[in-house]
């Protein structure tokens, strides 16, 4: 087997294996509705397809800095709105387990389409393992991010104020990545900062939500 193929397989495993393992655990032990997981993947795709034409149109008309801000926050706006709709469907039990499973399927679909697919196509065209590794690690950071956003949106089912909070958190996290990379040009530093931000957000979310278990939605 060539080194190129081994590198690609390694990167795909780094990007997908933690999420797939967690998802397999949820399916096996929590009896998650598989159709809900497909809806999670579909939700991410629709959110992407819905905002892409807008971003294309804006890319030639506004300044780069403004474009990056719009792109970052539009991801929050579209993805969190779709996540809210998916969690609101009768297929969701509106439980913590379902929200986490939805976050996993959302993040894995994103990893498949924006990382696995491109590296399958681009690796033979002159990118090294070290150049592609940060992206694989970022997919795991993003996965944790999607779990956090799903938990916040789950809470939004009973208190709508959590929906804009989730949109804001998602957009702001994107901004952290974009601005850090733009200023430092250091991809490893960017990923470290992103990882720490998501971890902080995760802890803050758990802390906030567990302090306010005001309804059945959160107390599973």
């Amino acid at each position: 087997m060539s080194k190129l193929l081994l590198d690609t397989v390694f990167l795909i495993l780094v990007a997908l294996l933690p999420g797939l393992s967690a998802l397999a655990y949820f399916i096996k032990t929590k009896k998650t509705n598989l159709v809900l997981l497909l809806l999670g993947g579909g939700g991410w795709l629709i959110a992407l397809l819905a905002r892409t034409p807008i971003l294309y149109a804006l890319s030639n008309t506004i300044e780069r800095a403004a474009y990056l801000v719009v792109a970052s926050y539009s991801a929050g706006l579209f993805e969190e709105s779709m996540r809210y709709l998916v969690l609101k469907t009768p297929l969701s039990k509106k439980s913590t387990e379902d929200a986490v499973a939805l976050g996993l399927s959302w993040g894995l679909t994103e990893a498949l389409f924006i990382y696995v697919l491109p590296i399958t196509i681009y690796t033979p065209v002159g990118y090294s393992l070290l150049e592609l590794l940060p992206g694989a690690l970022e997919r795991n950071i993003a996965l944790l991010g999607h779990i956090v956003f799903s938990l916040i949106v789950l809470k939004a089912l009973s208190k709508i104020i959590y929906l804009p909070a989730s949109m804001l958190a998602h957009g702001s996290l994107n901004i952290v990545g974009v601005v850090t990379l733009d200023l430092t040009k250091n991809v490893w530093l960017t990923e470290t900062l992103l990882g720490l931000s998501v971890l902080l957000l995760f802890i803050a979310t758990l802390h906030t939500l567990s302090r306010n278990p005001s309804n059945q939605v959160w107390s599973t």
């Binding site: 009896k31 509705n33 159709v35 497909l38 809806l39 993947g41 579909g42 939700g43 795709l45 629709i46 397809l49 819905a50 892409t52 034409p53 807008i54 294309y56 149109a57 030639n60 998916v86 469907t89 009768p90 297929l91 679909t109 498949l112 389409f113 697919l117 399958t120 196509i121 681009y122 033979p124 065209v125």
Partner: protein, 178 residues
């Protein structure tokens, strides 16, 4: 039919349309893309100053790999989208109190508008040189390609709901956990 089964019907319709679109891509669209490599390479050289040979070689490689990936990724992509539109069909039928046939048609129209017509109109509005070159090459068929996924999805969703077949077993099975 429950929401879960409707979403599942959407997944199956999406899967079938994805397989067909993958086949159409490999046998029709990929050839057009190969023909476009020369034109896109020239454009990128003139706009961005990228060496012609470099961009030509990279584009050719990308298209050849995309031909392998397309038949796998299209069914996945359209199954996921199908789950949501299958759910939408059931929602429309329940909320608008319409017939199954009308709700399938309505879901198909929303699909076509949202993921076919609006994106293609936006691309035309932007007038990006690269996209314009692709649109010029495809001509009228771009409109056919853009609404084709929605049309195929609607057709397969109709078949799944109205004609008995291997899918009936899946849709009529009792849910394990809901």
């Amino acid at each position: 039919m429950s929401y879960s089964k409707s979403a599942l019907a959407g997944v199956l319709a999406g899967l079938m349309s994805g397989i067909l679109i993958g086949i159409i891509y490999v046998f029709a669209l990929s050839q057009i893309m190969i023909e476009l490599v020369d034109e896109i390479s020239s454009l990128m050289t003139s706009i961005y100053g990228v060496p012609y040979d470099l961009i030509h070689e990279q584009l050719s490689q990308i298209i050849s790999i995309a031909n392998f990936v397309a038949p796998i990724i299209y069914p996945v992509q359209y199954s996921l989208i199908g789950a949501l539109f299958g759910l939408l069909q059931q929602y429309l039928m329940t909320r608008l109190k319409t017939s199954l046939l009308k709700s399938i048609m309505l879901a198909g129209v929303v699909y076509a508008l949202f993921l076919g017509v609006v994106p293609i109109l936006t691309i035309q509005f932007i007038q990006d040189p690269l996209l314009t070159a692709i649109l010029r090459k495809l001509g009228f068929s771009i409109y056919v390609y853009s609404v084709m996924p929605a049309a195929l999805f609607t057709l397969f969703l109709y078949i799944i709901h109205f004609i008995r077949g291997p899918w009936s077993k899946v849709l009529e099975a009792k849910p394990k956990e809901y």
